[in-house]
Amino acid sequence: MSTLKLIKKLSKENQKVRPTPSTQKRTLVWCIISSICLLLGITANGLSDYLVFAFSSPLFLLETVFIFSTIIASVYVALLLSIPGRFKWSMTIWVMLPFLFWLSLLLYRLLRAPIPFPTLSLSLPLACISNFLIFGLAPGLFLFVMIRMAAPLKFGITGLFASIAAFSLAAIGLQFTCTAVQNPLHVILGHFLPIIVLSLIGIFIGKITLKK
């Protein structure tokens, strides 16, 4: 088909379209829907007994703030990536900074941990990893759908940021439900590492699912 014919065909097919809402608005919508999913997940799992003590610890609160900042930054960047020409590589720093701050806090807690070193039950991280999917799956799916409804061009990196957002949200859920959240080694292996692994898998998922 010649280009002219294609233009004629496309202009005939053209219908009124609803412009994509602003990235801020879409971020807000995702946050609201995801918070509802998270609340449902937390209600189903039950709150951790450690929670009262945890909230009196400034380190725990700071960790939660960093995870929360990672969520907001990564969902915003993922949604920006779904609009052609909006993303700049420098924006990745918005996600990297809170994420690295969280890791630094965990390492700090690990170094300050009492001797003998906190023992790690292997079954517990496995339970947390499965909870990751429970907390992160629905918000993740919803985010991928939102991105696909726009026009992403960089599929892999979009998948990465969308997964970071979804699984960081799951990490927030674990902050409230996990009974071993006071053990920094557990948090690193059962909460932090799964985000990295699942987000790397998200690159491939993005490459497969976001292509139209």
Binding site: N14, K16, I83
Partner: protein, 181 residues
């Protein structure tokens, strides 16, 4: 000029989003010409260019709802064009010398993605088009084709001094056109 196009395309896209088929046809026709020159300058192959132009137009069609009227049109548009070009090169692995591609060219291409560079190139092309015919030819032979003054003058069938005068006037005019933006 750049702002005129920005404004014009932005307006045409806004109308297209509201379902105006004539505005959409005009927009796609104008964009197809821009895309043709954009791809041709990078690929130097007409067969590839036509495919890429059509592919980009389809992508623009499917992404038209994502254009935000408050944002510059060219960054949205060239992001799609650049993505199509890089994707095409990756898929076809155009590396042989015959096809004028090598790793360095690819890297250069990726680096050239910045919108301002694209916009500057596009502005310059449009500015040259506004010059009188003789001045356009002077720029074309001396700067784009890289001929010497003597070679250019003989190709154009004018004297060396006449060519120099045309070129000088062209530079002045370009400075004026580009400076007023």
């Amino acid at each position: 000029m750049k702002h005129n196009n920005q404004y014009r395309w932005s307006l045409l896209m806004t109308l297209s989003q509201k379902g105006d088929n004539d505005a959409y046809e005009t927009l796609l026709t104008e964009l197809s010409m821009v895309l043709k020159s954009y791809f041709y300058k990078r690929l130097h192959n007409k067969d590839f260019v036509d495919d890429l132009v059509q592919d980009s137009l389809l992508n623009i069609h499917h992404s038209r709802h994502t254009y935000d009227v408050t944002r510059p049109f060219t960054s949205w548009f060239f992001a799609i064009a650049h993505h199509k070009l890089v994707d095409f090169i990756r898929k076809n692995k155009l590396k042989s010398d015959n096809e004028q591609y090598n790793e360095t060219h690819f890297d250069q291409l990726c680096n050239d993605s910045k919108d301002n560079i694209i916009n500057i190139k596009y502005d310059l092309e449009n500015a040259i088009k506004q010059l009188p015919y003789k001045q356009q030819k002077a720029i074309e032979y001396l700067k784009l084709k890289g001929y010497s003054v003597k070679e250019s003058a003989s190709q154009l069938g004018i004297s060396d001094s006449a060519l120099k005068v045309n070129a000088h006037r062209a530079y002045k005019a370009l400075k004026k056109i580009l400076g007023t933006q």
